[in-house]
């Protein structure tokens, strides 16, 4: 690659009306959270008429695929690149290549191990885990037993959501995590695990799921065993889809969930700024909102994008 300037790349398009081309490599489309992110990003970028988002590339959870996707985008000489890495390390070199090719890179959601990117936008999983832990402490004032459904063990969000949670519940020594298993982020995996926990006849007071589907999978198992009322369920993600966490809170299935911000809006704004030569913040860490029965309806309306695209 012979280092073309980012804007020079659209020469072929010529003419006065210049359209910027943006590529986005998503780590895995088929997670509800990421599907939502895609939807939002498309929605927000549409509001900038001179920006064209290429069809979103789905790495299907494979770092190797994602690296070649980033390389494809470099080959296509996109004007800006957004990446949601599957894992930090594998994408580092690819992002470096984009950087060398003078293509601005926005890292969305998960980090990479290089500073050579233009902006990072993402949630703080340790923070969210901590909030969930604080909620658990609040829900179990007299202490109690918690079971934890983890995401894929080696995923960074799993590690962070676990870390923050454990930090927070240390506040009450009478709260104990009595069991934890890998639910792999999947609802269907969580149900039998919860069933086994229930079979072990231990007192379970709260289920902490690293995402809403797992918490809900556990809820199904508890409901079947007639124990759903005596157990609290806390999840993370808070998606505004009919099958998502906000609705589950509204229905009383989850005691609480925490919105893991997609950052789509911020990403769209940042892309626009960068493409027009404006300064953009290098690191934007997004907060979270706790979804409760009270604010659920309103949050759903706020984040619901169905019908807008």
């Amino acid at each position: 690659s012979k280092t073309p300037a980012p804007s020079a790349s659209t020469d072929s398009g010529a003419g006065a009306k210049k359209k910027f081309v943006v590529g986005y490599s998503q780590s895995n489309n088929a997670e509800p959270y990421r599907a939502q992110l895609n939807l939002q990003l498309q929605h927000f970028l549409k509001q900038y008429p001179d920006i064209e988002l290429l069809p979103i590339a789905d790495a299907k959870q494979s770092s190797a695929t994602q690296v070649s996707q980033v390389q494809n985008f470099i080959t296509q000489k996109v004007d800006a690149l957004i990446v949601s890495p599957t894992e930090p390390a594998p994408l580092t070199a690819a992002v470096q290549q984009a950087c060398d090719a003078k293509i601005p890179v926005i890292v969305l959601d998960r980090t990479v191990n290089t500073d050579c990117y233009t902006a990072f936008i993402g949630g703080d999983n340790v923070l969210i885990g901590r909030k969930a832990g604080e909620e658990a402490v609040r829900l179990l004032p007299n202490g109690g037993n918690i079971v934890e459904l983890r995401g894929i063990m080696s995923n960074q969000p799993q590690i962070d959501r676990d870390k923050g949670f454990r930090e927070a519940i240390a506040a009450n020594p009478k709260i104990k995590i009595i069991a934890d298993r890998e639910g792999k982020w999947v609802k269907e995996q969580a149900t039998p695990i919860m069933q086994q926990w229930l079979s072990q006849n231990q007192q379970i007071d709260l289920v902490y799921g690293h995402n809403d589907p797992m918490a809900l999978g556990a809820y199904l198992a508890a409901q079947a065993a007639g124990k759903a009322d005596k157990i609290k369920f806390v999840g993370i993600d808070g998606l505004a889809i009919p099958d998502g966490g906000i609705r589950a809170v509204q229905l009383g299935q989850l005691s609480a969930t925490f919105i893991y911000p997609t950052g789509a809006k911020e990403a769209a704004e940042t892309v626009n700024k960068i493409l027009h030569g404006q300064q953009a913040e290098k690191k934007q860490v997004l907060g979270t909102t706790q979804v409760t029965k009270e604010n659920a309806a309103e949050l759903y309306k706020q984040y619901d994008l169905s019908g807008q695209n």
Partner: protein, 351 residues
């Protein structure tokens, strides 16, 4: 002197009874792997393991995969393989959830539709294998990809819930009815979990088809020696297409069961279920070379897989060690249940 010649009687009555008992024992051998796991379960967890709820839960979690395994067994018996069943289950579950969410169809309308969808793709698998003579591994791997793509496209990558609430905040009658497919806690006579029932019924039906009908014989013949089958008047093409279609149909049927189990259809539903299904068949004694295997074996294979999971889970074995131990026990179970185990241990015996 002719008497001497005719002497070897094809089946002396006394001998035959003994033989039959022996061969029944040999079949008993096939259950050793299962017995082993049951024994470990009971030894370590006793009542906690060996109670109706736990066993129902364990088998229920595997029911949809078990149903896939029955279809896959048919295909394997003819010497093929079906890698697309996981995706077909996925599209079946998505079809079911959408029919429910968008059109408020009743269960008895949903099931035939899902089965038809599965059968259609299964038919294409069969057509590609039998008519285009593509190796079934490639054909069904391609189908796995195509169907998963379609599934994700129609669902827009968003999971579709099946617990549809009406304006009154309660489940609609259709959504209520849909739960019988397997939302945990919905049982026949408050005891029999529907998916387990469905799995067992499917096993029985296909066991009868394979053992009692001409079609069943033809399935074994095609897998045992396709040329000989054709020269014996078997329509090898038709049999091949039929087994793939049936496998697809069963996967379609497993769709709503899976959707009800999770109370939602995930665009990723059924991902890599094909491996579990094939594993159940092969652990149950089906030979990937074709011509050898039974539904009973597949049933046992499915039980081994799911009960093993359950025993390890109840014993709170860590996730990583579960992977290790599961692999080891599968090997041990397969070795133990070979019919010629004793001969094998004594050494000897060729190829």
């Amino acid at each position: 002197m002719t008497t001497v010649k005719t002497a070897p009687p094809v089946k002396a009555p006394g001998e035959s009874r003994m033989r039959r008992t022996l061969s029944a024992l040999g079949a008993g051998q096939a259950y050793i792997g299962l017995v082993l796991i049951l024994a470990v379960g009971i030894a370590t967890k006793g009542e906690m393991f060996l109670n109706e709820t736990n066993l129902t839960n364990a088998i229920g979690a595997f029911a949809s995969r078990g149903i896939l395994a029955v279809g896959v067994t048919l295909v394997i018996l003819t010497g093929g393989i079906d890698l697309s069943v996981g995706s077909l289950l996925g599209i079946g579950s998505m079809t079911a959830a959408m029919m429910l969410a968008k059109f408020s169809l009743d269960p008895w309308q949903i099931v035939p539709i899902c089965m038809a969808v599965g059968a259609l793709f299964g038919f294409l698998n069969g057509a590609g294998t039998a008519w285009l003579r593509i190796q079934s591994f490639v054909m069904t791997l391609a189908m796995l990809s195509v169907v998963r793509g379609l599934d994700r496209q129609v669902s827009d990558n968003v999971s579709v819930g099946t617990q549809i609430a009406g304006p009154d905040g309660k489940l609609t009658p259709q959504a209520e009815a849909f739960q019988v497919f397997g939302t945990p806690g919905h049982n026949l006579f408050d005891r029999i979990y529907y998916p387990v029932l469905a799995f067992i019924v499917v096993c029985i039906v296909f066991h009868l088809i394979l053992t009692k009908t001409r079609f069943g014989r033809h399935v074994y013949a095609v897998g045992g020696n396709a040329t000989a089958a054709r020269l014996s008047g078997v329509n090898v093409t038709a049999v091949t297409i039929a087994v793939f279609t049936l496998s697809g149909m069963l996967a379609g049927f497993a769709g709503p069961i899976d959707a009800a189990y999770s109370a939602s259809a995930d665009p990723q539903a059924g991902l890599s279920f094909e491996l579990d299904a094939i594993a159940a068949a092969v652990i149950g004694g089906a030979s990937l070379a074709g011509g050898k295997g039974t539904i009973a074996g597949t049933f046992v294979g499915a039980l081994i897989l799911t009960l093993l999971d359950n025993v390890l889970g109840l014993n709170a074995v860590s996730d990583n060690w579960q992977l290790v131990i599961k692999g080891l026990i599968v090997v041990v179970a397969v070795v133990l249940q070979r019919p010629d185990l004793f001969k094998f241990l004594r050494g000897g015996s060729r190829s």
